[in-house]
């Protein structure tokens, strides 16, 4: 279970998070939506210590991880994996070595054993056939699947997706959406997805929280978002150009 309590963060005079409260229960697929620049990615990066809040606390399974040192955050990151928007694979390595890297670093096992486990994880995302090829040979969808496989090597409880379907074609986006849903169903992984892709939001989310100007303005199941008459949420969900939402 993850709790954000009154988290505040600003860059100079740009106040991105103004005292955010959010609770994420185990096993659910939680979507954090909002306009670009609303602070979605900034919020989730606090969970893995890539950013430190100006105020408030972050509780992971009852333990306050707000002011941990970089060294202590390594244990948190083993339980909380993150997949970035551009799939950050290392171009100089094959797909296999990309996925084997964390295994090699964290489990004192031989290179062959690390590679064997890496093939297992690649099989989870259906990419075990292309293990020896390089990331540059693949489109966005495929590369994102390998990035997800790499994040799974540490068997995390939580997986954070930073705008997984932004800027990729519809078929790849659908592949990634299906994968996120399968992870939750088959492995019981709790997923936190930052997105503004409406098709992905209503296709996959168990629960949605909308961030607007540094605060959550709505939090609930997808059905709530179809019926709400909250003017800003309405404008966002229907994709209306005119309305109260400042962009």
């Amino acid at each position: 279970m993850i709790e954000f309590l009154k988290v505040r963060k600003s860059f100079g005079e740009k106040h991105v998070l103004r005292g955010v409260d959010l609770t994420v229960k185990a096993g659910e697929i939680m979507f954090i939506i909002g306009s670009s620049g609303a602070g979605k990615s900034v919020l989730v990066k606090h969970l893995v210590g890539l950013l430190r809040p100006d105020g408030g606390n972050i509780i992971l399974d009852g333990k306050d991880i707000t002011y941990l040192s970089e060294r202590d955050f390594y244990d948190v990151r083993k339980r909380c994996a993150m997949v970035f928007q551009n799939s950050t694979l290392f171009d100089s390595m094959t797909l296999l070595d990309n996925v084997a890297l964390p295994i090699r670093k964290h489990f004192s096992v031989s290179l062959e054993e690390a590679r064997r486990r890496a093939v297992e994880k690649l099989a989870l995302v259906g990419m075990e056939g292309q293990a020896d090829r390089y990331p540059a040979d693949f489109g966005d969808g495929m590369r994102k699947k390998v990035a997800i496989a790499r994040a799974l090597t540490l068997d995390p409880q939580f997986v954070i997706f930073d705008e997984p379907t932004t800027g990729i074609d519809p078929i790849s986006a659908a592949i990634v959406d299906n994968l996120i849903r399968d992870l939750s169903v088959n492995l019981g992984v709790t997923s936190i997805v930052v997105s503004h892709d409406l098709r992905s939001i209503f296709g996959v989310a168990d629960r949605i929280a909308m961030l607007y100007q540094g605060l959550f303005i709505l939090d609930g199941p997808p059905q709530l978002y179809r019926e709400t008459d909250h003017p800003i949420v309405r404008q966002f969900i229907d994709g209306q150009p005119d309305g109260p939402m400042e962009v």
């Binding site: 893995v48 890539l50 390594y74 244990d75 970035f84 950050t88 890297l101 790499r150 994040a151 090597t153």
Partner: protein, 256 residues
């Protein structure tokens, strides 16, 4: 008036902040070298890349440097009819001064700039954050292998470079100055001492440390998209060049 002061103040602050960051990063790199087992694969890859990448450039530079030094001292020697001194005139300056500096500048251009560009790109495309998210400390994994690959390769390549420079000098003296190459080589052996060679090599090690520190720093702390990478590489080669000349003077002064 205040804007001028503010400008100087701001520049001074950002300069000192940069130097502070650089020292901190270097100390952590040194500390992590002793405390964590280096990544064998990444270390071999860095050695290979740094060494192979700069070998042709260093050889060409060294050959030309040797030739230039012989030409410059050739005129002086011709004036005094002291052809026997040609080897000393060219060789001394090459081994101690001009060789390490020019090879250092070439190395800073080829390897330093590339190292900053690569690390900068990894920072901009979030690959460094990805490493941290995989609970892998980027400093021992990325910076330590590059640091020691650059220092060791700079030393080895200066050694090879010095040899190439003398070869370049011998060829030029034979064909351009009509000074028989056997006389040139004799005067090299006669007047040059091992201390000259060591002086140059010690300088090259310090140059290597400067290039590694500066290029790692500017690469690792890149920000601002593609434009930021370009600016980082620019600062990296400029700071490397300045440190090469400053170190050259300091070492030359304290180590006759």
């Amino acid at each position: 008036m205040t804007s001028v002061l503010a400008n100087i103040g701001r520049r001074w602050l950002s300069l000192s902040e940069g130097v502070g960051q650089m020292t901190l990063l270097t100390l952590t790199t040194w500390w992590k070298f002793w405390t964590t087992a280096p990544d064998r694969i990444e270390f071999m890859r860095s050695l290979y890349k740094v060494g192979v990448q700069s070998f042709p450039i260093v050889v060409v530079t060294a050959l030309l440097t040797g030739a230039i030094m012989v030409i410059q001292s050739g005129q002086l020697v011709a004036q005094y009819e002291a052809y026997g001194l040609l080897g000393w005139g060219a060789g001394y300056a090459t081994l101690r001064e001009v060789g390490p500096i020019l090879i250092g500048l070439m190395f800073s251009g080829r390897v330093g700039a590339n190292n900053t560009a690569e690390l900068g790109t990894m920072r901009i495309t979030e690959q460094i954050d990805a490493l941290r998210a995989l609970a892998i400390d980027p400093i021992p994994y990325l910076l330590v292998p590059r640091f020691f690959a650059i220092v060791s390769m700079m030393f080895l390549l200066t050694l090879v470079g010095n040899l190439m420079a003398l070869v370049g000098g011998t060829i030029t003296s034979q064909f351009l100055l009509q000074v028989d190459w056997r006389l040139f080589v004799w005067s090299l052996r006669e007047y040059l001492h091992l201390s000259d060679l060591f002086n140059g090599l010690i300088k090259s090690v310090f140059f290597g440390i400067a290039i590694a520190t500066v290029s790692n720093h500017f690469g690792y702390h890149t920000s601002g998209g593609a434009v930021g990478v370009g600016r980082a590489v620019n600062s990296s080669v400029v700071f490397s060049a300045v440190s090469i000349f400053v170190l050259d003077f300091v070492i030359g002064y304290f180590l006759p």
